[in-house]
């Protein structure tokens, strides 16, 4: 792939990510926000591929698009009556929020671009990273890996417990 194509594709995905994220934030309709988030997640996954983290990109698509986004859409559907025509959300503190948005982005960019040049290491990640993730998971990150499985089990049991249908509560009323 030529260098020029590479740059064009990078900018296409960067623009997709940023503009769909802006649409998530500024759209008044919750459903539009949720579907725009889909494009943000895909754009971010594409950026992960540019960072030669292909496994993370696939995980991003599977977990975020297949899991979290579906959960968010379920949340939207549960907490708004379906027949309700407008799923709009109000906003508050728009002006301070906007000032903070501009200040944070400007401050971070200023810091990134003025604290001298970043010095890339001699050994940059190249090609696929899947094999090295396998080695790292089974050696250095064994304990966090096992703890993540326990945490997921506990979190999902807790979520099911919290969101269950409360029969006793219904009888009282």
């Amino acid at each position: 792939m030529s260098e020029f194509t590479y740059i064009i594709i990078f900018y296409v995905f960067a623009a997709l990510t940023v503009f769909s994220a802006a649409f998530v934030v500024f759209s008044k309709n919750v459903i539009y926000s949720a579907f725009s988030l889909l494009f943000t997640f895909f754009g971010v996954a594409a950026l992960y591929v540019f960072l030669s983290a292909d496994f993370i990109a696939v995980t991003q698509v599977v977990v975020y698009v297949g899991g979290i986004l579906v959960l968010l859409l379920f949340g939207v559907m549960f907490t708004n009556t379906i027949m309700q025509t407008e799923l709009r959300t109000d906003v508050l503190h728009v002006v301070p929020g906007f000032i903070l948005l501009v200040a944070i982005i400007a401050g971070m960019l200023y810091t990134f671009y003025t604290t001298g040049d970043w010095m890339p290491g001699d050994m940059q990640l190249q090609g696929s990273v899947v094999e090295r993730i396998g080695f790292e998971t089974m050696s250095r990150y064994m304990l966090p890996f096992e703890m993540a499985s326990i945490l997921l089990l506990v979190a999902l049991v807790g979520a099911a417990f919290l969101a269950r249908f409360d029969k006793v509560h219904k009888k009282e009323h």
């Binding site: 943000t40 993370i56 906003v91 501009v102 001699d122 990150y141 993540a148 945490l151 979190a155």
Partner: protein
């Protein structure tokens, strides 16, 4: 021109700064709890881009492994948070976080 054609660390840092700002804006200004969750997801994605960018240009595996764990925790966080949001909706009949102002019914 060099700034725009040589894709380097700064490009990824810029995207992640913008994503972080937008996520924070959503968390600050929105009243709907679910849109606030979406803002949190944007912030987590921004952090992940930073981890992977530094990991790529450093050559180490730490950022890659950390971003993997961030994704796992984000899944757990979304499940718990939505359970809480559904409970709030059952109790208050709304997900407007500015009208949720009591600890019990």
């Amino acid at each position: 021109m060099e700034l725009f054609t040589a894709i380097g660390l700064n490009h990824f840092l810029t995207i992640s700064a913008i994503l972080f700002g937008l996520g924070l804006f959503a968390v600050m200004t929105r009243k709907n709890a679910i849109v606030i969750l979406m803002g949190v997801e944007l912030i987590l994605n921004a952090a992940n881009i930073n981890f992977l960018a530094f990991s790529k240009y450093n050559g180490g595996m730490e950022g890659v492994m950390f971003s993997l764990f961030v994704i796992v925790l984000a899944a757990a966080e979304a499940a718990i948070a939505l359970a809480i949001v559904i409970n709030i909706f059952k109790t208050f009949k709304t997900v407007d976080v500015s009208s949720v102002d009591s600890m019990k019914e």
